[in-house]
């Protein structure tokens, strides 16, 4: 029983050591600004199309389903309110993070994994560079900056998608839709909607780096690391979503 637990406990310990090292490097020289910008482009700009597509359709589907339910009560005019709250608080951050994890946790794991199996990581260490400082910290910083930005984009595009569906299916006037969207949001929703992607960004980047750095077994190992990174990052995002949501609920209850 204890032997069976050794492996997972060791993995968690290794992940914590890697995360601690990556966070500590934020305050230690040298800083690789070029790498941060390059990763911001890869992770951020590279994910814009998928984030826009998923954002638009998730908003549209939500308006479609919500509108149908609200129609029974003659409240289709409040579609924007539901779309807005659900998108900003929950669906926007989670969907964006899962999509970015699918694209970038896998990308990070395969890139670093390939470097690991071809001894490029060892070469880096032999040539005076800390791989955590050079590879992990820039990816972590870039994801922490870009994921909240992508979430804002996803939320906005989702609202547009919801607005179009509300107009086409339920004849909700645009002005009314956007008015309810705007009025439904409180500062705490915006806070929650931005805190979540910031926290998820660490799961997306660090899980990718962790699986990449522990890759063994050649190209087959790279494939395995890639899959594990996406699955673990996605599961972790949902688990974090529950706990962060619970903390915000607790804070809002304290304020009442």
């Amino acid at each position: 029983m204890l032997d069976a637990l050794k492996g997972p406990v060791k993995s968690v310990q290794d992940f914590c050591v890697l995360s601690g090292g990556a966070l500590r490097n934020v305050f230690r020289k040298p800083h690789y600004a070029d790498d941060i910008l390059l990763q911001m482009e890869t992770i951020g700009v590279g994910s814009v199309p998928i984030v826009m597509i998923t954002g638009f359709f998730s908003g549209a589907v939500m308006a479609m389903q919500m509108g149908r339910g609200l129609q029974d009560y003659g409240q289709t005019g409040r579609t924007g309110q539901f779309v807005s709250i659900i998108l900003v608080r929950e669906l926007g951050p989670v969907l964006t993070a899962v999509m970015v994890a699918g694209q970038n946790s896998s990308g990070i794991a395969s890139e670093i994994g390939s470097m690991e199996v071809t001894e490029q990581i060892d070469a880096m260490r032999a040539l005076g560079t800390d791989p955590v400082q050079k590879l992990v910290t820039p990816r972590m910083i870039a994801t922490a900056i870009m994921l909240p930005c992508l979430t804002i984009l996803d939320d906005f595009i989702g609202m547009i998608g919801g607005g179009i569906m509300a107009k086409v299916l339920f004849a909700v006037p645009g002005r009314q839709y956007w008015s309810t969207v705007w009025r439904a949001l409180a500062w705490s929703d915006v806070g929650q909607g931005l805190t979540k992607p910031f926290m998820y960004s660490f799961a997306v980047s660090l899980i990718g780096c962790y699986y990449g750095l522990r890759t063994t077994g050649g190209t087959q190992g790279v494939g395995r690391a890639t899959t594990q990174a996406v699955v673990t990052a996605s599961v972790l995002i949902f688990i974090m979503d529950f706990f962060i949501g619970r903390i915000f609920l607790w804070i809002s209850q304290l304020g009442q």
Binding site: E119, Q120, D122, A123, M124, R125, A126, L127, G128
Partner: protein, 288 residues
């Protein structure tokens, strides 16, 4: 088990400074004490020596090199680099010591997102102990690539080069900072005989041009034979044969994590251990 003997018949280097010393080093992975990758390995590489490390695949040759660089941690014994105990040093503490060592990795380990010139410039830019002014970097890179006869390939990416060319670029990267100690991990693995000879000739040239100390891991006896019996002639640009044991070359043989032989080429060829004998072939004229 093969007899472990002290080197004799090689140039006396006992007074020379020790550059790399292993003292009863043991390395295990994932706590597997039953099958250590290195088991009680001890040897001492002195300045000016060239060590040829022979052994079958999986005998621990690469682990030995990585342990020497502090890329793998010894679980027992002690490792000294330039008389400094590096066994338990942190990664950051090791950077300055590693700057004195050049390493050629088995599959070259060139950074595939960088050009040839960027790869060779990497240690100059990243090793704090080197501290070379930016304006002197380009000539240094150019000179290092000229040494391996690849000056014209500076702008190419590693994926555009042949296996032999990649190995030569990796040698250029290893020697660009003029380190006093060089570690070569299977420099001829997977190469055709002609390219393998070119690579080994470069290693001999580097040794004789800069008087560097080297540890060469290989499974090909002819690589060691070339290093032990030929010298680079700067006038002709070719390798000239020297007398028996005319170079400070010591052979070592590894078997299942243990060092089972250490001695001169003459002693290696006289050894009757079946495992050691498998690596020994009669030397033939190698120099072109």
């Amino acid at each position: 088990m093969a007899e472990k003997i002290q080197p004799t018949g090689v140039a006396d280097t006992s007074d020379a400074a020790s550059l790399l010393r292993f003292e009863n080093v043991r390395v295990t992975f994932d706590g597997d004490d039953e099958k250590p990758a290195l088991n009680g390995v001890s040897f001492n590489v002195r300045r000016g020596e060239t060590r040829i490390l022979l052994g079958a695949a999986g005998s621990g040759k690469t682990v030995l090199l990585k342990t020497a660089m502090g890329l793998e941690c010894a679980t027992g014994g002690r490792v000294f680099l330039f008389d400094e105990d590096v066994t338990h040093k942190s990664e950051r503490e090791l950077f300055d010591i590693r700057a004195k060592v050049g390493m050629l990795f088995q599959e070259s380990a060139l950074f595939d997102s960088m050009t040839v010139a960027q790869n060779v410039a990497y240690p100059l830019l990243n090793q704090k102990a080197v501290s070379m002014p930016r304006d002197k970097m380009e000539p240094a890179v150019r000179s290092s690539l000229r040494f391996v006869e690849l000056e014209g390939q500076m702008g190419k990416y590693p994926s555009e080069l042949s296996g032999g060319m990649r190995r030569r670029v990796a040698i250029a990267r290893a020697v660009v900072t003029n380190p006093p100690l060089l570690l070569y991990d299977s420099p001829t693995a997977g190469l055709d005989p002609i390219t393998a000879h070119t690579i080994m000739a470069l290693i001999v040239k580097e040794r004789d041009k800069d008087n560097t100390t080297a540890l060469v891991v290989t499974h090909r006896y002819q690589d060691g034979n070339l290093v032990a019996n030929f010298r680079y002639n700067p006038n002709s640009g070719h390798l000239d044969p020297v007398g028996p044991d005319g170079t400070k070359t010591i052979f070592m043989v590894m078997k299942e994590g243990k060092l089972v032989f250490e001695g001169s080429q003459t002693e290696l060829e006289a050894n009757r251990d079946p495992y050691v004998m498998k690596f020994v072939k009669q030397p033939q004229s190698e120099a072109a």
